[in-house]
């Protein structure tokens, strides 16, 4: 907007033009040159990295715990050296975008600016990050456009004990234990394991062996030992009421137990017992008296 050319070249216009072009030089873009970053180790050699607004430092600069990163550059407003109101070095953790700033000290006339950065300048949060991105912000009042330039990455290297210490500090800085209002982790109750039955085949084997025991018992009783029911007609003749009643009451007692097992409650069971019990008692005493009579007669 300032460098318009005119065909009428009077002295006055020439003067105005000269003034405007000067102003344009002064009010260009805030930029820098002669920039370098030096990692000065204590008592050791210094590694220098050159960079410019268009060419950031390639690769990450490793910053040890005793190293100092010295960044120096010359600030230019357009093509002239100048001092901007804002000359900050920004250090950003790329993932969370958490950023801190370090004002550069700038000489007024020469525009020479420098900043020293070491571990103790960086907060624990950034120090424990794997890598930090460094940017340079230059801006000031007036017409010149401000600029923000990425100049490279640094990698703070920490020994394990220091790292643990800084991690602790970081947690403290972040408000360790302080509540954060957000969704919490999901929890699902883990149930106790259900009781397990053994494999069916084993169960069936033992089931069959139990049933076989009953079969064995009956085999021993009847064919081998000669068990029989030959006295039944005699018994029924001698005590025609009490024998069937006694045996029926024995069966119904077992029936009551079965009903209790499957569906009855205790009161129904007790009622059933109250009915069947006396029958069993009285018919049983008669029936057994008849059995004794047979024994006394020598029939048994």
């Amino acid at each position: 907007m300032h460098s318009t050319t005119s065909s009428r070249m009077s002295f006055w216009t020439f003067f105005v033009l000269a003034f405007l072009s000067l102003a344009a030089a002064a009010s260009g873009v805030w930029t820098f040159e002669d920039a370098q970053a030096v990692v000065a180790a204590k008592g050791g050699k210094a590694d220098a990295y050159k960079f410019s607004p268009t060419k950031p430092v390639k690769g990450a600069i490793t910053l040890g715990s005793r190293d100092i990163l010295k960044v120096s550059l010359t600030v230019k407003e357009g093509s002239q050296a100048g001092r901007p109101h804002q000359a900050f070095l920004l250090a950003q953790e790329p993932e969370s975008k958490v950023e801190t700033f370090f004002p550069l000290s700038v000489k007024e006339l020469s525009g020479k600016a420098k900043i020293d950065l070491s571990h103790k300048d960086l907060p624990a949060f950034l120090l424990t990050a794997p890598s930090l991105s460094l940017s340079l912000v230059l801006g000031s009042f007036g017409e010149s456009a401000a600029s923000i330039v990425t100049i490279g990455n640094i990698k703070p290297s920490l020994d394990p004990t220091a790292k643990a210490l800084f991690e602790k500090q970081k947690q403290k800085d972040l408000g360790e234990g302080a509540t954060v209002y957000k969704a919490k982790d999901e929890i699902r109750h883990i149930f106790r394991a259900d009781p397990q039955s053994p494999p069916k085949i084993i169960t069936l084997f033992f089931l069959l062996s139990v049933l076989a025991g009953l079969g064995g018992l009956f085999i021993v009783w009847f064919p081998i030992l000669g068990g029989n029911l030959s006295h039944l007609p005699k018994a029924l003749k001698a005590a025609p009421v009490s024998h069937p009643f006694f045996f029926a009451s024995l069966l119904s007692l077992e029936g009551i137990f079965f009903m209790y097992y499957t569906q009855w409650n205790l009161f129904q069971t007790l009622a059933g017992m109250a009915v069947v019990g006396p029958v069993a008692l009285f018919s049983g005493s008669r029936a057994l008296r008849e059995v004794r009579a047979r024994r006394e007669k020598g029939e048994r």
């Binding site: 000359a87 920004l90 957000k182 929890i187 049933l211 030959s230 006295h231």
Partner: protein
């Protein structure tokens, strides 16, 4: 008159009806959390500077009273009750606000649920506000520290100071229901002071400074910012504290933001070619609406829990059994300026139900099941843990920008009753024992029959059958 008593009655009725309807419309127009606003403004003439903002509030049904902080009868509380529902504090011309607005009184006011909108400017942050901010863990800069940004300033207002900075609304986040991230390319003009926030969960940023902004002492004539007070996105321009009782205190670093001048201003970013109108009017409306409880208010309409698998299960019983399948439902509404709307949980967030006895046994997400015109039903089902005791269904939904929900309903969880266990014949391992009993019974019956009726076979074996 006496000749027409009928007509007189009719007109009287009409008159009454008119007033009743007027009253009804006035009542329904009153905002949700009460409409009495006290605006503390020193000079009546300043009223004109903020007339659009104040008119907007009046248009939404608020009864805005302008009072001077110096007025003797000014009081936030009356007989232990709030005399106002909301307070707007404009920066005073003099050093402080006077005895009616001490930090203690302001906090007492919020304890009763009153909302406060604090507007400050770099040159006027009274000591009362500093003390209040200290209590809230908000860091305020010293006097005259102004925020500037050489990247996002307004070029139209021709300010050499670059102090009318153009901020953008907070980014839309999937995790946070942010009431302030409206139209994303809105430009909000801001001229004032920044502040920093502590780590508390009750504090929320509303407008964050751009990355390249910084605060410096505008009265000291430093050639360059050697020691800025704060810079970058760690600095806030507008922030709020929502207390545990859902009372809100919003701190704005720029009173100019709310002025007619900024509402109507056309602004332009450096490097851009066209100038645009600021979105201050909408943003300030959002700030006021949120602070005074017209936005970000979430209400629980109903809570239901019942057995999942039974069609006629009673709703909200007092007792469940362990391992019951239970369904829990909650109906949530969100207030939006003038009506209740269905509340929608952000996609990256989760509304969670806890089933707790001392510790949560379950923390499961509640998912939207149905939506009506003014509420959403969130539901989940789970199996009650195998632990008896007194449990509670708890929905503890506390998120920034929203009123806190903490609902807790206790139920007893009992053990299996004796007739609710699996029957033994259904357990294959028990078959052997059941068979054992059956064998014993059969054997016993057989033995009884033999005892009663067996004849000796002495000739054959020489033994009595049953000895």
């Amino acid at each position: 008159m006496r000749l027409q008593p009928q007509l007189d009655m009719a007109s009287r009725k009409a008159f009454l009806l008119f007033f009743v309807s007027l009253f009804v419309s006035w009542v329904s127009a009153a905002p949700l959390t009460g409409g009495r606003i006290l605006a503390v403004i020193e000079e009546r003439s300043d009223n004109a500077k903020y007339s659009q903002f104040l008119m907007d509030l009046r248009g939404r049904g608020y009864d805005v009273k302008l009072e001077s902080a110096k007025k003797d009868t000014l009081a936030l509380l009356e007989h232990g009750e709030k005399a106002w529902d909301h307070v707007i504090l404009f920066p005073p011309k003099s050093k402080g606000y006077g005895p009616a607005l001490t930090p203690q009184k302001l906090l007492d006011f919020t304890k009763l649920g009153g909302n406060i909108l604090v507007l400050t400017s770099p040159s006027s942050i009274p000591e009362q506000i500093r003390e209040l901010a200290r209590e809230l863990d908000i860091g305020l800069p010293p006097k005259d520290y102004t925020v500037v940004d050489h990247f996002n300033y307004d070029t139209v207002s021709k300010s050499e100071k670059h102090d009318v900075i153009l901020a953008t609304r907070p980014a839309v986040s999937s995790a946070v229901h942010n009431c302030f991230s409206g139209t994303q390319d809105d430009l909000i003009a801001f001229r004032g002071a920044g502040h920093t926030l502590g780590n508390g969960p009750l504090l929320v940023p509303i407008l964050t400074a751009p990355r390249t902004a910084y605060a410096y002492d505008s009265k000291e004539d430093f050639a360059y910012a050697q020691d800025p007070w704060a810079a970058g996105t760690q600095m806030q321009l507008v922030s709020a504290m929502q207390a545990r009782n859902n009372a809100r205190i919003t701190l704005v670093g720029s009173v100019d933001m709310f002025s007619n001048e900024f509402f109507n201003m056309k602004v332009q970013r450096p490097g851009s070619t066209e100038s645009r109108k600021t979105a201050n009017k909408e943003f300030c409306k959002d700030i006021a609406a949120w602070t005074f409880g017209e936005k970000g208010i979430v209400k629980v309409n109903a809570i239901r829990h019942y057995l999942s698998n039974e069609p006629n299960a009673p709703v909200n019983p007092n007792m469940y059994r362990i391992k019951n399948d239970v369904t829990f439902e909650i109906e949530l509404s969100e207030y939006n300026i003038d009506r209740w709307a269905p509340f929608k949980v952000s996609s990256g967030d989760s509304l969670q139900l806890e089933f707790t006895m001392l510790d949560p046994y379950y923390r499961v997400p509640l998912l939207p099941a149905s939506t009506s015109s003014n509420y959403t039903t969130y539901t989940t089902s789970f199996k009650i843990p195998d632990q008896h005791g007194v449990f509670a269904f708890r929905v503890n939904y506390k998120r920034p920008y929203l009123t806190y929900i903490d609902e807790k309903y206790s139920v007893t969880v009992r053990h299996f009753a004796h007739d609710e266990y699996t029957r033994s014949w259904d357990i294959s391992g028990a078959w052997v024992w059941i068979a054992g009993i059956a064998v014993t019974i059969t054997g016993w019956i057989g033995f009884c029959a033999l005892w009663l009726w067996s004849a000796p076979v002495a000739a054959k074996a020489g033994l009595k059958k049953t000895e």
